[in-house]
C-alpha cells in the first residue's frame, strides 16, 4: 500500500508510472473493499483506485527468468524502480540495485517495506533480527513504534484507557509520502551525480520519526513515561490551551490561547460573570489550571448553538475554533470543495466517488498548474501489456502468448 501510494503521488506530480502486477489476479488490493457497487469487477475497489489512479498497469512475474529479463529491459529506460520487497529478495532474483545500475547507471531503486534491512556494517555487530516482530499489522506496528502509547498520554485512568493506534490507512499512507520524498531525493541526487542509488523507506522508521515531542522529552533526560494525568496539569498537556465543547449537534474545539483571543472569546459568550473572576481565568495559567470549571461554564453557551454557528462566530472574532468533523462533514466541507481538493473517481455508476487529491496547489512561474478536482480512473489489470511488451519492447504476439501460457505475463 505504501509503495503504491508513493508511486501514485509521483504520478500526480507528472511521472509516467507503470505498475507491474502479478499475472492473473493482480494486486491483492483489487479485492479489498469497500467496493463501488456499479463498477466493473476487478476495478471496483475504492482503496485500490485511490492508490493507483493515473498509472498504467502491466502484468509481469519477475520470479521467472523470462520475467526478470523483461523487467531488466524496462529498467533500461526508467529513472526509478519502486518495490515493496526487501533488497535481499531482489538480490535473489538478480534484480538488486547494483545489478540493475549496470544497465541503467542513473537508476534509483527504492524499497518501501515494514522494517528496514541491516547494513553490512550493522550485521558485523553480531546481532540478530529478534527485535523486529515476525508477525505484524499496521495496528500492532504503531504500538511497537511508540506512537500508540504517546497518543494516549496523559489520561486520567491509564489502567482503563489503553494506548490508541493511528486510524484508517494513516500508517501506510504516511510511509508512502515519506517514500515519495525519498524517491525525489534519490532522483535529485542522480540528476546531480549521474549515478543512482539504492534507498529504503521503512514503515516502522516513518512512524517513529513522527514522535517529535516525545523525542524532545527523552533528549531532556526524561526516562520514565507515566501515562497518568495529574490533576494540576490542566488542559495544556492535552495539546495546548484547548477545550472540546459540546454543541447541539456535536463538538467544537477551541483554543483562545492568547490574551486578546481570550478576551474576544468571552465577549462572544456575553461576558458572563465568571469571566470576570481573576482567580478563575484572569491569566493563562489560571485558565489552564481551572480548565474543567471553565469547560462547564463555556459549555452552557455552546450547548445552545450548532457547531457551524460557534465555528463561524468564533472565527469572525479571530478565535481559533473548528467543528469536530465526521466523514459526512468532510465530504460536504465548503473549504475542501471550494479548493477542489477532491478528485472524482469515474466508473462507479451515477454517483462518482470523492477521493482526496494532493493537499497543495502548485503553480509554476510560467503559469502552469497541477490539476485539481480531476476525474480519475483505476487502471485495468494488464491494460498496458500490449503497449509495453509489444510496442515498446518489440515482442511478437506469439511470444506474448507463450509468456502468458507460462504465467510470466
Amino acid at each position: 500500500m505504501s509503495a503504491s501510494f508513493c508511486a501514485r503521488v509521483l504520478s500526480d506530480l507528472g511521472a509516467d508510472v507503470l505498475k507491474l502486477e502479478p499475472p492473473g489476479a493482480g494486486d491483492p488490493l483489487r479485492r479489498v473493499g469497500p467496493f463501488a457497487p456499479h463498477a466493473a469487477y476487478g476495478d471496483d475497489a475504492a482503496l485500490f483506485a485511490y492508490l493507483n489512479h493515473g498509472k498504467h498497469s502491466a502484468t509481469l512475474d519477475p520470479s521467472y527468468p523470462a520475467g526478470a529479463a523483461l523487467l531488466k529491459r524496462l529498467v533500461e529506460s526508467a529513472d526509478l524502480l519502486i518495490t515493496s520487497a526487501h533488497a535481499s529478495r531482489l538480490a535473489e532474483l538478480d534484480l538488486d540495485g547494483n545489478t540493475l545500475r549496470k544497465l541503467q547507471p542513473a537508476l534509483v531503486t527504492l524499497a518501501v517495506t515494514p522494517f528496514g534491512t541491516r547494513l553490512a556494517d550493522d550485521a558485523s555487530a553480531n546481532r540478530t533480527d529478534a527485535d523486529t516482530p515476525a508477525a505484524f499489522t499496521d495496528f500492532t506496528l504503531t504500538h511497537h513504534a511508540g506512537y500508540a502509547f504517546h497518543q494516549a498520554r496523559p489520561v486520567h485512568a491509564p489502567s482503563e484507557q489503553p494506548p490508541v493506534a493511528c486510524a484508517d490507512r494513516e500508517v501506510a499512507l504516511a510511509t508512502g509520502i515519506a517514500a515519495t520524498n525519498a524517491a525525489l531525493w534519490g532522483l535529485l541526487e542522480a540528476q546531480l551525480h549521474g549515478e543512482g542509488r539504492s534507498i529504503e523507506c521503512a514503515e516502522l522508521d516513518v512512524i517513529a520519526h513522527l514522535l517529535i515531542e516525545p523525542v524532545a522529552d527523552y533528549g531532556r533526560g526524561e526516562r520514565t513515561f507515566s501515562r497518568l494525568r495529574e490533576e494540576l496539569q490542566g488542559t495544556e498537556v492535552a495539546g495546548g490551551l484547548i477545550w472540546l465543547l459540546p454543541c447541539r449537534d456535536g463538538f467544537v474545539m477551541i483554543s483562545p490561547r492568547e490574551e486578546h483571543q481570550w478576551e474576544r472569546w468571552v465577549e462572544l459568550l456575553g461576558n458572563p460573570p465568571w469571566s470576570r473572576d481573576a482567580a478563575l481565568c484572569g491569566e493563562r495559567t489560571a485558565r489552564n489550571e481551572n480548565w474543567m470549571t471553565l469547560q462547564e461554564e463555556m459549555a452552557k453557551w455552546t450547548r445552545e448553538h450548532t457547531r457551524a454557528d460557534v465555528f463561524e462566530r468564533a472565527q469572525a472574532a479571530r478565535v481559533a475554533c473548528f467543528p469536530v468533523s465526521g466523514a459526512r462533514d468532510l465530504l460536504e466541507n465548503a473549504q475542501l470543495n471550494a479548493r477542489r481538493f477532491f478528485d472524482c473517481w469515474e466508473g462507479t455508476g451515477d454517483t462518482p466517488l470523492s477521493m482526496p487529491g494532493l493537499p497543495f496547489c502548485l503553480r509554476t512561474s510560467s503559469g502552469a498548474e497541477l490539476p485539481r478536482g480531476r476525474d480519475v480512473a483505476s487502471p485495468r489489470l494488464g491494460s498496458a501489456n500490449r503497449a509495453v511488451f509489444e510496442e515498446r519492447l518489440g515482442l511478437s504476439p506469439a511470444h506474448m502468448e507463450t509468456l502468458r501460457q507460462q504465467g510470466v505475463v
Partner: protein, 392 residues
Amino acid sequence: MRKAESGALSGLRVIDFSWVLAGPMTTKMLAGMGAEVIKIESSTRREHTQRQPWWAVVNAGKKSCTINLSRSQGPELIRRLIAQSDMVVENFSNGVLAKFGLDYPALAAIRPDLIFVSASGTGREGPQRDALAYGSLLQAYSGRASVVGTPNERVEAMGILPAWTDPITALWECCAVLAAIRHRRVTGEGAFIDLSMLESTVALLPELLFREALGSATPAASGAREWSAAPSGCFRCEGDDAWLAVSVCDDGQWRALCDAMDKPGLATDSRFADALARAAHRSEADDLLAAWLAHQPAGQALDALQSRGVPAARSRHIGAVMEDPYFAERGLFPELADGSRSIALPWRDSGGFRGDFTPPPRLGEHNDYVFRELLGLDAGDIEALTEAGVLR
C-alpha cells in the same frame, strides 16, 4: 551517520520564515539534504524567544539571523537576501507578508525562479482561507480525532498529541518542494505552492470517506482496533500499565492464538470458524483474549504469540523505542554535536546516509554571515541598523 558526498540540495539557499512545527520540520529535512536554511527570527517576537522543548528537534542543521520586519529596513534586507536565494518557506497568517511587500508576486519580481512555499491551516484560497488555525484543532477538523478515539471533554486519547497534522504536513510540504526543485532544474521555472494542513491530514483518511460515501456497514480502522481483524485491540497484561496490541487476521492466526492460550476447543468453535464468523462474534473473541492476557506478563505473551505467527506488539514508550537496538543501529535519532537529540530523515540509502545535521542555531547566531558575507554590510551599516532596532 554517514555523510553524503555532496547533498542533493547543495547550493540551494532557503529563507525560512516558518515557526512552530510543520514548516521548521520541512526546512530541517531540506537542511539534512544539503540546503542552506536561514531562519529569519526576531527577538521582538515571542515565538522566536520562548523556545519549546521540541524546538531543537525540528531546527537542527539551520542558520539563524534576526531581522525585525516591522522596521522599514527589515523587509528591504529580506528582499536583498531573496535576490541571492532560491526558496522561501512561510506559514504566516493570510496577508502578513503582503503587508511587508514580501509576498510571492513581490519576491518573484526579484527572483523569477524562486520557489515559494506557503503553508496554512486551510489553504490560501477558499471561503475559510482566513480561519485562524492550530495543528491541534485541525486534527479535530480533519476528522482524525473522531476516528482515532472518541471525542471527550478531557481531550484524551483522541489523536491530538503527539502532533500529527504538523509532521504529516511537513512530509507533504517537503515532497512539493523537492518536486518543484526538480522541475526548476529541468526548466528553470520557479513555483508557488499553496499547501493546506487540513488537506494534508484528510488525504490520509480515504477509507473513512469511501465507507461513508458507499454506505459501508464496516467502519475504517480506528485507533482502538482493526475492523478487518478479530479479535483485535490493545489488551491489558499483568503489570503496571503493560499493554499488548493483537490483531488476528486469518484462520491460521486464530488457531495459533488458541494454541498460545492453551484453549484448543476454541479452534473448532463454530463462532470463530472463519473471519466472517469471528467478525460476527467480535466482542466474544476480544473478551476471550482479554481474559487470557490479563493474567499474562506482557513479554511472555508477546513471545508466545510472535513465535506462533500472531501479529502482536507491546505498546512501547519513546524510551524503549530509542533504546531499541534496531533504531540505535539505524541512526534515526542521532545525538548531535551539542548533545541534543534529533530525528533524521525517515529513509536511508544503502550507504547508511539519512541526512547531515549540525546542532540547532542560537538566536541570531549567523547574523555576521548573513549581514556581512551575504549582504556585504560593513560595521557602520550593522551598527546603524542595530541601533534602529532592525537587526534584532
